[in-house]
């Protein structure tokens, strides 16, 4: 069974979805989702180990058809790093989901909720694993379609979820369609869809205009899906009005997977030596990344709704990942992977903690948490640590991200950009401080509802907080894995 793990990684949650839809009792559906995401997490960890021991890519041929003909699933150092992130977050989010879903979603819809939940997870895992350009699109749409539905389920609590989901659907579909156009052009030029095969065959046609057009379409489509500034407007309302559990899952994983796909396509297919890539795409991504970092952070400072605030901060954090990609170097890519990993942990923790508050109070704004530091200290501390990690305070995972990001920029002699990156991340202090001030330095207003906390609510968030601190202190394995992941695409990361 061990050699089937790459496919089991995907079909376990995928086939769980119809089962969950059939289970009538809501706890049954939840239990199934928990079990399956747990199994998926286990599989991803084993796969990570298998890949590390093998030292090379594990390739799984679907239906026994070998590479350029059939669809293959590839577990290399890069996908082996991202899989545990996605499945791990999914597992923890599922633990937390029970309470959040009970509070926010009509009981009749629970089974369908978990079905969509498992589908979106399966879709994300599929995007990471597959080695076929069109298969990526299919999984992209599986995860997106179920995500639209999940976001829309927030309508029971907050009807703004509906237009948010609709806009998300429009832009998501446009992005995915752009991607398909690009892939279609590549297929026309090369006659293959297999990523490895594509990168080999592209060498023959690398200076044709059609290839550039394909690159532009693919990049643009994925920029949309990963919410790179200025194509990020769908993200904030979608995350803010979705059910809390969905916010946590998506904020921590959805855009990260798109970042991964972008890296896979740009570096794995076109390759760093592709003429014009480093200048054109690199500079563009770098510029947009920096701009996004500033715009996201400044917008977050002005927000008063916590979910929106951290959604805006996600824009900024995605900007940092883009900066790592835009550095067009092995270190930059390693930094992007490190930040992808760490940011998933931080945002997961933050959204789970905020979700626990929102599920009780109906919404989570600066007003809701006034003086909450004394009523729900454990939850608020989780938010605090997550916030500090976003700033990049040493001993949290965020520091390691920032360290490698800056190193990547300095290695390329981008002193100015490194400085700008620094300033923007320091600005994050302003919004974290707003939270600290509201939660701890203000008294709870008279008549405000009493907030409570119990282990079911804060343990999932704290799992991620502990991971954030753990990977901030014992970062060596993560750095090593991220460098291995970067080396898949560009050699020389250390």
């Amino acid at each position: 069974m061990m050699q089937h793990l790459p496919i089991l990684q995907i079909i376990v949650p995928l086939l769980g979805a119809p089962l969950a839809a059939l289970l009538r009792g809501r706890d049954l559906a939840w239990g199934l989702a928990l079990l399956l995401t747990g199994v998926a997490f286990l599989i991803s960890v084993v796969l990570f180990g298998q890949q590390k021991i093998a030292g090379e890519a594990l390739i799984y041929e679907l239906g026994g058809w070998p590479a350029p003909i059939g669809i293959v699933y590839v577990i290399d150092a890069a996908s082996a790093l991202v899989l545990p992130v996605v499945s791990g977050i999914a597992f923890v989010a599922t633990i937390a989901a029970r309470r959040l879903v009970e509070a926010e979603i009509d009981a009749r819809d629970h089974a369908l909720f978990y079905a969509a939940w498992l589908l979106t997870i399966a879709g994300m895992l599929g995007q990471v694993t597959t080695g076929d350009a069109f298969n990526i699109f299919v999984f992209l749409e599986i995860s997106s379609l179920s995500a639209y539905a999940l976001v829309a389920m927030g309508a029971g609590r907050d009807r703004r979820a509906l237009p948010a989901a609709f806009n998300y659907l429009i832009l998501g579909t446009v992005g995915a369609t752009f991607y398909v156009i690009g892939v279609g052009l590549l297929y026309m030029l090369t006659g293959t869809l297999n990523l490895m095969d594509l990168s080999e065959r592209l060498a023959d046609v690398e200076s044709t205009r059609a290839v550039f057009t394909a690159l532009a379409f693919i990049a643009l489509g994925l920029f949309l899906k990963m919410a790179l500034f200025p194509l990020h407007f769908w993200l904030v309302p979608a995350y803010a009005h979705a059910p809390s559990a969905v916010s946590a899952l998506m904020a921590a994983t959805a855009t990260k997977v798109s970042v991964y796909v972008l890296i896979r396509l740009i570096f794995g297919v076109f390759g760093i030596e592709f003429p014009g890539l480093a200048d054109a795409v690199g500079l563009l991504v770098l510029t947009l990344g920096i701009a996004g970092a500033f715009v996201g952070t400044l917008a977050a400072i002005l927000e008063t709704d916590l979910k929106k605030l951290f959604a805006q901060s996600s824009i900024a954090q995605l900007g940092y990942m883009a900066i790592g990609i835009g550095a067009m170097s092995a270190t930059g890519l390693a930094a992007a992977f490190i930040h992808l990993f760490n940011h998933a942990l931080m945002k997961g923790a933050l959204f789970l903690a905020i979700g626990a508050i929102a599920a009780q109070a109906g919404r989570a704004s600066m007003h809701t948490i006034e003086g909450a530091g004394r009523q729900i200290p454990i939850t608020m501390t989780a938010i605090l640590v997550g916030g500090l990690a976003l700033i990049g305070v040493p001993l949290t995972a965020g520091f390691i991200s920032k360290l490698y990001l800056i190193r990547a920029l300095l290695e390329q002699d981008f002193w100015m950009l490194a400085g700008l990156t620094f300033i923007s991340s320091a600005l994050a202090l302003a919004y974290v401080w707003k939270i600290i001030e509201a939660a701890w330095l203000k008294e709870r207003p008279e008549g405000a509802p009493v907030l409570t906390e119990s282990p079911v609510q804060y343990v999932p968030a704290w799992l991620m907080v502990v991971a954030t601190i753990g990977f901030g202190i014992f970062s060596a394995p993560l750095v090593e894995a991220a460098c291995a992941a970067a080396n898949v695409f560009i050699g020389g990361a250390r």
Partner: protein
């Protein structure tokens, strides 16, 4: 106690004190008593550490290649630990008196964060590399914020925001950038005699890197990043003492000194002439702050600007890039600590006994509070640099360093600044002893602050005197590379 357990002990004792403060929050006497006791033990430990020849590094954890949390007791760090450690119990005693005397609320919270701040100061003092130092530097910033905003008034909150804003923003933007820059360039952050940067960086960039540190270390209050210090004056006086003498600003200039000596290396700085610009910035800071101090009539505000000026001396010592000046700067940390804490203790005593904050109202107060005013005079003279008080030695060494390096303008600046010191500190002493009492002071009878306040300030004033005679023990020759 064995030397190798001293470092964990020094880091742990203040934490223990803070934990006990929380546990004993319902029993004020026990709570304050244990804090005092632990303070005395800590002080003893720092003395023992200072006397020992221990220099072995203690590793805690390793983050990534070249990024450790580790502690190395080197001479400069030991000295700072000694200053912070010895002044802590004194300040604790004073705090107890002040808090009870002035009737401040939230005593437990105050004591708790005070102990955490000492923990952070110890961490800074003993840190073995820049990363460790940075971590404790930030802990210090955050742990002192509740102290600065202790009163909870809108004014205090505003001051707290300035305090935190400047300190955290400067450190996160500039200092951390510098730290990472050093790590990228050299692959290590270890403090080494002679510095680690030489040979790793184009000399052209050194002044810029130095600027990241000089302005990034906001706690050194180099102009124009000094605004937080006067703003923080809204805090209770023991906090001011902590900020000015025991921990915060001292941690700032200590960091500057440590970075200049152990990261850049004195010789490297001198050879590349990278710190010349900082010499002038520091000199400007010294003079400008002195001039501003003369315009202030609020006692604590005047002392705050005096501190900014005095911190300039230490940054100057680091930037002169000679071994003599660096030693002088290290000595000045000690001398100024003893002097300035005395002045603040006196200011607090005056407030508790008579609720006066403005210098103009303090005419004739010297006759009512003779002990306090004598101590104040001693502290002031030490700051001015008059023998036989500690400040004299450090100023002489700094001047010597300036001469060594041929900075005659700096020499002039130092002398002018001493004159200005004399004017603005002397005024207070003269008004106290010789001016006719203003009304509002009812009797001419001696009316001192509580004993627990007078004792510490007498003690620190005595220290200023003692330092002058025992100066041999405090002149360090740490700036030379181990080999040469």
């Amino acid at each position: 106690m064995a030397v190798d357990t001293l470092i964990p002990a020094l880091l742990g004792l203040p934490l223990l004190a803070s934990a006990l403060v929380l546990l004993l929050r319902d029993k004020p006497d026990l709570r304050d008593g244990q804090a005092l006791l632990i303070g005395v033990i800590t002080a003893a430990c720092t003395v023992r550490l200072y006397a020992s020849a221990e220099t072995d590094t203690v590793h805690f954890i390793s983050l990534a290649a070249g990024l450790d949390i580790s502690f190395t007791p080197e001479p400069l760090g030991k000295l700072f630990a000694l200053v912070a450690g010895v002044l802590w119990p004194v300040a604790t005693l004073y705090t107890i008196g002040y808090m009870r005397g002035a009737g401040e609320a939230n005593h437990t919270r105050f004591m708790f964060f005070y102990a955490i701040a000492i923990h952070a100061a110890m961490g800074i003092a003993l840190s073995g590399n820049l990363l460790t130092l940075f971590v404790f530097y930030e802990i210090l910033t955050f742990s002192t914020y509740p102290l600065v905003t202790h009163k909870g008034t809108p004014e205090a909150m505003r001051a707290g925001r300035i305090y935190l804003g400047i300190l955290v923003a400067s450190s996160v933007v500039l200092l951390l950038f510098g730290v990472i820059g050093v790590w990228v360039l050299t692959g290590t952050l270890e403090f080494k005699s002679g510095g680690i940067l030489a040979g790793h960086i184009d000399p052209f960039y050194v002044p810029f890197l130095l600027a990241l540190f000089a302005f990034g270390i906001g706690k050194a209050a180099l102009m124009p990043l000094h605004r937080w210090l006067p703003a923080a004056m809204v805090a209770p006086t023991p906090v001011s003492a902590l900020l000015h003498a025991v921990a915060v600003v001292k941690a700032g200039v200590f960091t500057v000194l440590k970075v200049a000596v152990y990261i850049f290396g004195i010789d490297f700085l001198r050879e590349t002439a990278s710190s010349d610009w900082l010499v002038y910035v520091a000199s400007f800071s010294i003079l400008a702050a002195s001039v501003v101090a003369m315009t202030k009539t609020n006692l604590k505000a005047r002392l705050a600007y005096s501190t900014i000026s005095q911190l300039g001396y230490i940054v100057l010592g680091a930037s002169l890039a000679t071994s003599l000046a660096a030693s002088g700067a290290a000595l000045h940390i000690t001398a100024h600590a003893a002097g300035k804490i005395t002045l603040f203790f006196c200011a607090g005593a005056i407030y508790v006994a008579h609720h006066l904050t403005d210098i103009k109202d303090m005419n004739g107060l010297g006759r009512i509070m003779p002990v306090t005013y004598t101590a104040f005079a001693l502290g002031a003279l030490s700051i001015i640099g008059v023998p036989p008080l500690a400040g004299a030695w450090s100023k002489i060494m700094l001047m010597g360093g300036a001469l060594d390096n041929g900075h005659l303008l700096v020499l002039a600046a130092l002398m002018i600044s001493s004159l200005l010191n004399l004017v603005y500190l002397g005024e207070i002493v003269l008004r106290g002893f010789f001016a006719a009492p203003t009304h509002g002071l009812k009797s001419e009878a001696v009316q001192e602050a509580p004993m627990s306040m007078v004792l510490p300030l007498a003690l620190t004033a005595a220290m200023s005197v003692a330092l002058f005679f025992a100066v041999d023990y405090f002149i360090l020759d740490f700036a030379k590379p181990a080999g040469g």
